[in-house]
């Protein structure tokens, strides 16, 4: 089963890393440059999981998660937060914002895949 994933990150490098990590044939990856763009992209797709960065221009990760969760059809869509900080309070904030889980950058491609399967099947 192919999982459809939306990855939102303002860093091109990071987007490419994610694309490469998920380039196993099991994933269909869409990308967006920031929260606002992410919401636009989201209008056209129904991803099985969303990966988002926190620190982004225009709309940051927390704002993005809020906005996604407000949408009825994405109330239960798994959202993984990409963060360089592993500080516990940051994880708590991500969770309070409605994130499903988190991945600490730099990430191991296998772990990313595992985490995606963990939340999205």
């Amino acid at each position: 089963m192919t999982l459809e994933v939306l990855a939102v990150d303002d860093s091109r490098t990071m987007r490419n890393m994610i694309k490469m990590a998920l380039n196993t044939g099991d994933f269909e990856v869409h990308t967006a440059d920031d929260g606002v763009h992410g919401l636009e992209v989201l209008e056209g797709i129904s991803p099985d999981a969303i990966i988002t960065d926190i620190n982004m221009p225009r709309m940051d990760g927390f704002g993005f998660i809020d906005a996604v969760r407000e949408q009825e059809k994405h109330r239960a869509t798994p959202i993984l937060v990409l963060t360089t900080e592993s500080a516990p309070e940051l994880k708590m904030r991500a969770r309070e914002a409605g994130a499903t889980g988190w991945i600490v950058k730099p990430f191991d491609p296998n772990k990313l895949i595992k985490a995606l399967h963990m939340v999205a099947g």
């Binding site: 490419n16 982004m56 221009p57 709309m59 109330r75 239960a76 191991d108 985490a115 963990m118 939340v119």
Partner: protein
Amino acid sequence: MSQDTDPMAEIRASFFIESEELLEALQDGLTSLEDGDEDGEVINVVFRAVHSIKGGAGAFGLEALVRFAHRYETALDEVRGGRMEVSDKALKLFFQAADHLSDLVRESRDEGELPTERSQELLAQLDELIGDDGEDAAEEEIDFQPAGLSLDLDLGLPGLPPLDLPVAEDAPTEAPGFNIHFKPQLELYETGNEPFQLLKALHELGDCEVEILCEDIPALDDLAPEKSYLAWNIKLTTAADAAEINSVFEFVEGLCTLEITPLNAAASAPPPLDLSLPGDLPPPPPTLPDDDDVPVMAAEPAPTETDPVPVAETSELKPEPKAEKQTKAAGGGKQPAAKSVVRVDLDRIERLVNLVGELVINQAMLSQSLEQAGLSPHSDAMNGLEEFQRLTRDIQDSVMMIRAQPVKSLFQRMSRIVREASSAIKKDVRLITEGENTEVDKTVIERLADPLTHMIRNAVDHGLEDTQTRLDAGKSAQGNVRLSASHKSGRVVIDVSDDGGGINRPRVLQIAIEKGLIPEDSNLTDTEIDNLLFLPGFSTAKEVSDLSGRGVGMDVVRTAIQALGGRITIQSEPGVGTTFSISLPLTLAVLDGMVVEVAGETLVVPLNLVIETLTLSDVDMDMIRPGVLSIRVRGAFVPVFDLGVALGYREPLEDNSGCVVLLIAHEDGQRFAIMIDDIRDQRQVVIKGLDENFYRSPGIAAATILGDGQIALILDPTDIVHQAGNAAPLLDPALVSGASS
């Protein structure tokens, strides 16, 4: 992503390109802050730039870069969080750190030697700035060790007991397996987690006996569809250890009641551990899909004793106020709207440029053969050709536009040069840049970096007076160096000016005489004296400072500018300042040329240098001395060089009448003339470099292919005059100093 290249290497390369952009944004942001921009978004942009570099660097294991970026970011975060004011001192340090960061990025990219000492020095200053005694840094260091590509699995939530304690210590080795009691709370569903996936993940670790506990399900009437009623008991037979089991529940930790007990220790089960969040559950939201298959039993709620007794656990889990500020609103007002861009490999553009070059040549050939066919200039074919020519020119301009880049990146490098140069010699200097968005051919920008660096250093070192002299002269203590770029009549003009003391002409003259560069009795105009600075081997610095006195003079700068088809001139006013102007062609690929004939050879003279053409009658020409000719043009004497002689095509002519003279303007207004036999055409020519295959011949800039397929050399008239001037030692240097040296 193409298959024949290593995708990782490609991403790595793209990381460095992106880093350059981020560094540019960083410089921009810091400059805005320096200008007193109060917009809160600016510091966010600055922070994000450093943050993103850190993130990418971590992915490639660039430890030194990560470490520096991290602590730089920490300092910036202090400002961002409003805990620190941006003082001048802080800003200066931030600029230095930004410079250093770009060093680190470049060294990392080129796998060069990293300036670790400088890192330490700056980090110490950054720590000092934010009043950090280093303890935190050491602690964070652990946190931010580039994780070497690992997923963080630590489970340390604040205020919650470590999850694995009850099991880890008495986990049996011989009877592997665990009993797991799992009861999700509502938040587990709300954050998009799904018990089914967790059970599946457990199943992958070993054999599971799963028992669903429906005791909590209320009577149908009381059933709130979104509430969490279910719980599971799982007996997992596995070789996996507790940590692995815990990792399955990492994301739901704190969102459920979870007990994990080793199988054989089940009898002496440790007190249940409740990881639920404290406080009341929020009212259930409308619908949640999961529980379709729940057997709905019309039974009383099961007795509660099967529930583990929750251990009261009340930890405040509010995030620290310092955590990221939400910036939901779309962008700060000052940011220019994002442009949509495509990245193209430079090779492809080069190819396109070459093709357009071929097109120009072909079109010239076509036009020539149509003419030879004797078509009337008013025929449809000729009209069509004219249109074709116009389109070709448009295409050419557009292609050149692709290669064009704003000079901004170049200017940013220069602002760094000013910072370093001024701090090295303890002058307070501010660089003002104008016209950063002026676009210039990429190659020109790259090759402009060295000469411009030298000129900026000169301006700081020699151009500006020291602080005391400035104050005595009634000027501000802070010296100004202005760097500006603009488009002027088809050329790019870059000015470097300072508000220093101007060129000390008596001293320049004296040095030139002392060094034997000019005769002692020379009587030079101000402009001519200024131009002495461009003579090889000229240096005014009384003491060689380690800054600009590296034995590289302005002559090298001029040579570099000329190699780009550019010209450089000086304007200076005592006590007010000096301006160096560089004028450059927009492109290096195509040239408007005048096709001329000398001694049967076809040559091309860059059209923009020719200000006037004259046909000679012998009356106009005077011989000042043997071998030195001059003509009188509107009352002024202008030296004349016979191109045929200068290039060695022929001996000097007995009779020059009937020859054509091209009046060439030098940048500073000096003029000279070159004599040719005839003018054949005026057209665009494609520049074909010769340097790669031939030695650089004096006076020849490049070559081109004409419409008839013939190859013609493109002249560098200034260089020709220079050579001719050397060849004629009797020539009065005063006459040619502006033109030839």
